[in-house]
């Protein structure tokens, strides 16, 4: 594999008008010294909070923004200093979709998809079949004559995707493409993006603040904070072993973690045994954990947590209630500690009294029923 897009020490500064009194023009570093390679044929997620510089970064990739410092290479060509006319040719080979779809409301669905073809100078008789083919691919052929206003968000984004694919781009940029969609539609659109990557070999760059989007489709993740890349790597390793604080926070939104202190208090009130959280991963799958407990004669039942699948590998955290002799439990946890994260959950002060009222009231035994 080789890099289809490379950034080398790229920074982007936006001038901010200083106050009249100081007469100083300050600059905001939206992107700060980013060096990054995007491998051909992969799906890359660029993740971060609002204002982390993700949207600026993606606009540097197709020359909608020019870097203040550093170089941007697209298919080996340095585009950072290309004149506008040359840049237009580069952009025509990169598709882009948007959070608000950005469809032309004055044109029909067909008109929207035909637009980039007209811009690229396709002969008239070739445009119609190509538009039909694209609408068929994204599954919206029946809406060809409709105006965008008449379509749902998911349908509009499909039109946006068909339009972005019109000139068979090698790269597709998705700027928060699912953030305005409901969960169901989000899944459909993500599946479509995955299909584009698999069937057409298109490199897909996904900008998002939603970790479950990354979990669904990304091969690699780039974590951004204050314009800088703070972490990058294969999706599974970033999820399984996040290094920075913000990555950990993001990962915890999409993968089950250890219970919060008040949850531990509630759980211990309901479960008298020892509570232990075990990291579930490829190295410590659930059958292995279960077998270890059994081998040491420790009784176990799951009381909290969950596992999910990332890049076809399991990941999550399960909290068990363990029963048995202290020595057996210690031995079992020592074995597990060699392969995964093990954390004993000790409830903090005054568990029962403060935690009990949060529990659902026990069902009263109704006489006579």
């Amino acid at each position: 594999m080789s890099a289809i897009v490379s950034l080398r020490g790229v920074s982007k500064l936006f001038p901010v008008q200083g106050s009249k009194r100081t007469q100083r023009t300050e600059a905001v570093r939206a992107v700060d010294d980013v060096t990054l390679d995007i491998e051909e044929g992969t799906v890359v997620g660029i993740v971060g909070y609002s204002g982390a510089g993700k949207s600026t970064l993606v606009r540097l990739l197709n020359g909608l923004e020019r870097p203040t410092e550093g170089q941007v290479f697209v298919k080996g060509q340095d585009i950072s200093s290309l004149p506008e006319g040359e840049l237009r040719k580069v952009r025509a080979g990169i598709g882009m979709i948007f959070q608000q779809f950005n469809l032309l409301k004055s044109r029909t669905v067909s008109g929207n998809v035909a637009y980039p073809l007209k811009v690229a100078g396709w002969p008239k008789d070739k445009i119609k079949p190509r538009v039909d083919e694209l609408l068929e691919f994204v599954g919206i052929a029946d809406k060809a004559g409709s105006y965008p206003r008449r379509l749902s968000g998911g349908q509009q984004q499909r039109v946006g995707i068909a339009r972005a694919l019109a000139n068979a781009p090698d790269i597709l940029l998705a700027d928060e493409a699912t953030s305005a969609l409901d969960p169901e539609t989000t899944r459909d659109v993500l599946r479509l993006l995955r299909r584009i990557n698999k069937e057409l070999g298109t490199t897909v760059v996904v900008i998002t603040h939603e970790m479950h989007v990354v979990r669904e489709i990304c091969d690699t993740v780039v974590m951004m904070e204050s314009g800088r890349v703070v972490e990058a790597g294969p999706t599974y390793s970033v999820f399984a072993d996040p290094q920075s604080d913000s990555t950990q926070r993001f990962v915890s939104t999409a993968v089950h973690g250890t219970p919060e202190p008040d949850t531990v208090s509630r759980l211990s009130a309901a479960h008298p045994g020892l509570l232990v959280s075990i990291g579930i991963s490829e190295t410590a799958p659930t059958p292995l954990v279960a077998a270890t407990f059994e081998r040491h004669g420790v009784g176990s039942s799951v009381v909290f947590g969950g596992v999910t699948e990332i890049q076809n590998k399991i990941l999550g955290t399960l909290t068990y209630e363990l029963t048995g002799s202290a020595a057996a439990i210690d031995a079992a946890l020592a074995d597990l500690g060699d392969v995964t994260a093990v954390e004993r959950q000790i409830p903090t002060a005054a568990p029962a009294e403060s935690a009990l009222p949060h529990l659902p009231a026990p069902v009263p035994a109704n006489a006579g029923e």
Partner: protein, 219 residues
Amino acid sequence: MTDWTTLLPVLGESFQQTIYMVVITVLLSGLAGLALGVTLYATRPGNLFANKAVFSFLNFLVNIIRPIPFIIFITAIAPLTLIVMGTTIGTTAAILPMALMAGVVIGRVVEQNLVASDPGVVEAARAMGDSRLHILWSVVIPESLAPLILGYTFMIIAIVDMSAMAGYIGGGGLGNFAIMYGYQQFNWEVTLVTVLIIIVMVQAAQLLGNFLAQRILRR
């Protein structure tokens, strides 16, 4: 009693003069205003052809001309009218100040409608590799067509209004007719008839504008 047999042909001629002034002015100022408005929009900081010098200059020009009361503007640019049109009196002479003032106002109306349009579609078109000039013509203007039509309708009515004032400098038309045969001869009936004709003209323009805008908005 009003002698309509002698007045009617004069009224007919005045009506024609008004139509002539309005149509020519709408065509001239419509095109000039569109160019001015699109330039103001495009050169605005952060837009496709951001250019502070050009934007500031045009903005200043519009701000200077627009507040001048039209009746004073006609006399103020009389020397220019003399050079360009060869005369300062008559229907044709009235067209220059009308077209200039209307052009400036239309420019502002066009600019305001375009500024209110969605910048996302412009970005989408740029991302497709479209040229900036082509984007102005085939994205920015069509996307704002409905409000532009309503803006132009508003301006056509303002131009009818202007044409009445042009009567004062011998521009002829319905305004002149109402002043000469109505106001100055204390003939309220003539004034009323003229006003009714103008109301019908304005209503027709407004209805047509609304109809066209609705058709586009209903898409």
